[in-house]
C-alpha cells in the first residue's frame, strides 16, 4: 500500500487549470521526483499535498487518512513535512530557534507553563533543544546553531529548511527545489543529506529543475506538463520517453 496516494486531482484557479486529473503513488522509503517545465503545476501539487490549498477535484490520501480538507498544520502533524521554493526561514531568528519551531507539534507545554516556567516546561525545553540540534546534525549544519538564519549562505539555508522540516518528524518530506542556486559541491552535499534522510526511513518527494541531481538521486520520476501527468517511471525510462523529450524540447535531460 502506498504511503501517499494522489488520486485524480484537479486544481483550478478561476478559469486557469493548474492541474488536471493527476494520479500517482508514493511508496515508503522512495525518493520520488516531480519534474516538468515552468508552470507545469509542481508547486501547486506540493501545496495540495501539504494541505495549504485544497484540490478542486480528486483526493489525496496519506497513510490511510484523507488530506483534502485538513489545515496545513494538521497535515504536518499527521506526518507531512515540507520546504519552500522561496525560502520561508525566520531570518532574524537564530538557526536553532528556527528548528525549535519545528518541534512545536512534538511538544505540548502551553501558555501557562511558559509563563511560569514550570519544571516540566524546563525539561521539555531541554528536550526540544536536544531534538533540534539532532535535526541540525542530520543535515550537517549544527555548528551554525547560534547564527542568525538570515546570515547563512544559500546552500545552508536550504539545509536549514530541511532540518526544520525534519524536526517535525515527518514520514513524508516534500522538498521544493532544494538544489536551486547551489553550486556543484553544495548539490553533492545536499544529495548525500537527502539519501541519508531516506535511509533513516523518511519517504522523499521533491520538485527539482537540476536534472543531474534528479536522475542521480531519484528512484522514480513523475513528469508534469501543463498540469497533466505525461510520464512516470524510473529515471532511465523517463530520459528516453518521447513525450517527455517533446515537452522538454531543447532542454538537456
Amino acid at each position: 500500500m502506498p504511503i501517499l496516494r494522489v488520486e485524480s486531482v484537479s486544481k483550478r484557479f478561476g478559469g486557469l487549470e493548474a492541474l488536471r486529473d493527476v494520479t500517482f503513488s508514493l511508496y515508503e522509503g522512495q525518493i520520488k521526483a516531480l519534474i516538468g517545465p515552468n508552470g507545469a503545476g509542481k508547486t501547486t501539487l506540493f501545496n495540495l499535498v501539504s494541505a495549504i490549498e485544497a484540490p478542486t477535484e480528486g483526493s489525496i490520501v496519506f497513510a490511510g487518512k484523507e488530506i483534502t480538507g485538513m489545515t496545513s498544520d494538521r497535515a504536518c502533524r499527521v506526518g507531512i513535512g515540507r520546504t519552500f521554493q522561496h525560502s520561508k526561514l525566520f531570518d532574524d531568528m537564530s538557526v536553532l530557534d528556527n528548528v525549535k519551531v519545528g518541534r512545536h507539534a512534538k511538544s505540548n507545554a502551553g501558555l501557562l507553563a511558559a509563563f511560569f516556567t514550570t519544571p516540566r516546561h524546563r525539561r521539555e525545553e531541554q528536550a526540544i533543544t536536544e531534538a533540534s540540534i539532532r535535526a541540525l546534525r542530520r543535515v550537517g549544519i549544527e555548528e551554525h546553531a547560534a547564527a542568525q538564519a538570515g546570515s547563512l549562505p544559500l546552500g545552508e539555508r536550504h539545509l536549514l529548511e530541511i532540518a526544520r522540516a525534519l524536526a517535525t518528524e515527518p514520514r513524508v518530506l516534500l522538498l521544493d527545489e532544494p538544489a536551486a542556486g547551489l553550486n556543484n559541491e553544495e548539490t553533492d552535499r545536499l544529495a548525500d543529506s537527502v539519501r541519508r534522510i531516506r535511509d533513516e526511513g523518511i519517504t522523499v518527494l521533491l520538485v527539482e529543475h537540476d536534472m543531474g541531481f534528479v536522475m542521480n538521486i531519484s528512484d522514480e520520476v513523475v513528469v508534469l506538463d501543463y498540469g497533466r501527468k505525461i510520464a512516470e517511471g524510473p529515471p532511465l525510462m523517463i530520459q528516453n520517453d518521447e513525450e517527455v523529450i517533446r515537452a522538454y524540447l531543447g532542454a538537456d535531460l
Partner: protein, 346 residues
C-alpha cells in the same frame, strides 16, 4: 552553547531584578502623593502595553480597540461592585473573564483575516464598546460616569489613594509579574511559534503550528491584561467615565509599544514609561505631546523599526564599523535575550 544560554538567562533576570527593585522601591524616595499616583497609573498602562506587546510584537497582530478591554475591566468591576455589591476581587476576575470571552468572539473570525481587517474589526469593537458605555445609562450612568467604586482590600488593609504606598506595591507587583511572564514567554515553545507565525504564517503552519488557535489565544491574554489594568484603575480613582476609554487612548497604547520597540518586551516597558511619564514632565506643553508622539511613531517606523530599544545595538554597530556586520554570530546577538539585557541597563 549551554553556558551561553545560561548567561543570557542570568542577564535577563538581572535586568528584571534591577527594574523590580527600582519600581517597588520608588515610594521610599517619593513623598509626593501626586507623583505616587502618576506611578500607579503608569503601572496600569504597563500592564496593557505588555499584553499589546505580546499581541503585536510577538505575534504580529494589531489591536486598535484595546481601550475597549480596559473599559470592560473598569466598568465591569465598577458595575458589579456598586450595583450588585460584589466583592471587588471577584468582580475583577469576572470582568477579566468577560474580556476574555469578548476577545474569543472577536478573535476567531477576524484573526483568520489579514492584518488590516483585524485592525478594522478591533477598532469597530472599541467604538461599539465606547458607545455602549455612553448609552446604556441604566448600567453605566452614561457620560456622568460611575462614582463610589469601592477600594480593593485584604483584611483590614485598604488599597486606596489615601494609602498610596500600599496601592503602589500592589499594582507594581502585578505589573512586574506580567513583565516576568512576558519575558518567560519569549523563549518558550509558544513564544517561538508566535514569532514564527509573525514572520511567515504559511511556514509556521507547515511546521505544525496551529496558527489560528495561537493567535486567538494571545489576543485573549492581551485582553485579560488590559481588563485587569482597567479594574485596578477603577478601584484606584473610584470614579470612571467613558472619556477614559476612547479611540485616542487605544491609539496611544499602541504608540507606547511601538516607540519603545516592537518585538521586545523591554521595548514595550521603556516606550510605555516614556508615553505615560513624558506628558507629566511636559505639562505646560500638554497640547503638543500627542503631536510629538504621532510624529515619533512615524519616524521610528521608518528609521528605527526596532524602536528605542534598538538604539544601543545600532550605536554599537556604528562603533564596530561596517566590518561588524559580517562576523558570524554577531547577528544572533540581536535576539531577545541580549537586547533585553541592553535595555535593562539603559
Amino acid at each position: 552553547m549551554n553556558g551561553g544560554r545560561l548567561l543570557t538567562f542570568a542577564r535577563r533576570h538581572s535586568a528584571f531584578a534591577m527594574f523590580a527593585v527600582v519600581a517597588l522601591g520608588a515610594p521610599i524616595f517619593l513623598n509626593n502623593a501626586y507623583y505616587l499616583s502618576v506611578l500607579a497609573f503608569t503601572a496600569t498602562r504597563l500592564m496593557i502595553s505588555l499584553g499589546l506587546n505580546l499581541l503585536m510584537g510577538q505575534a504580529g497582530q494589531i489591536s486598535l480597540g484595546h481601550a475597549a478591554f480596559v473599559g470592560i475591566g473598569a466598568y465591569g468591576s465598577a458595575i458589579m461592585t456598586t450595583r450588585w455589591h460584589m466583592d471587588p476581587w471577584l468582580a475583577m476576575a469576572l470582568a477579566a473573564c468577560i474580556a476574555a470571552f469578548a476577545a474569543v468572539i472577536i478573535g476567531i473570525p477576524t484573526l483568520k483575516l489579514k492584518g488590516h481587517y483585524l485592525a478594522l474589526a478591533t477598532l469597530g469593537v472599541g467604538e461599539i464598546v465606547f458607545i455602549l458605555l455612553v448609552q446604556t445609562k441604566s448600567l453605566t450612568n452614561g457620560t456622568d460616569g460611575l462614582t463610589g467604586i469601592p477600594a480593593l482590600a485584604v483584611g483590614g488593609l485598604r488599597f486606596t489613594q489615601y494609602n498610596p504606598r500600599a496601592f503602589h506595591l500592589l499594582v507594581w507587583g502585578v505589573a512586574l509579574v506580567m513583565l516576568l511572564i512576558s519575558l518567560n514567554l519569549s523563549d518558550s515553545r509558544v513564544g517561538r511559534s508566535l514569532k514564527g507565525l509573525h514572520r511567515s504564517e504559511v511556514a509556521a503552519r507547515s511546521l505544525g503550528v496551529d496558527t489560528a488557535f495561537h493567535k486567538v489565544q494571545i489576543f485573549v491574554v492581551s485582553a485579560v491584561f488590559a481588563s485587569i489594568a482597567g479594574s485596578f484603575y477603577a478601584y484606584y480613582v473610584q470614579y470612571i467615565s467613558p472619556d477614559s476609554f476612547t479611540l485616542t487612548f487605544s491609539v496611544l497604547l499602541v504608540t507606547g509599544v511601538v516607540i519603545g520597540g516592537l518585538g521586545s518586551v523591554w521595548g514595550a516597558v521603556w516606550g510605555t514609561l516614556l508615553v505615560a511619564l513624558l506628558p507629566e514632565y511636559l505639562r505646560q506643553y500638554d497640547d503638543y505631546t500627542n503631536l510629538v508622539f504621532g510624529i515619533l511613531v512615524i519616524v521610528i517606523m521608518i528609521f528605527l523599526p526596532t524602536g528605542m530599544i534598538g538604539v544601543p545595538a545600532l550605536l554599537g554597530k556604528w562603533r564596530r564599523g561596517i566590518r561588524g556586520g559580517g562576523r558570524p554570530g554577531s547577528g544572533a546577538a540581536m535576539t531577545e535575550g541580549t537586547g533585553a539585557a541592553d535595555g535593562g541597563t539603559v
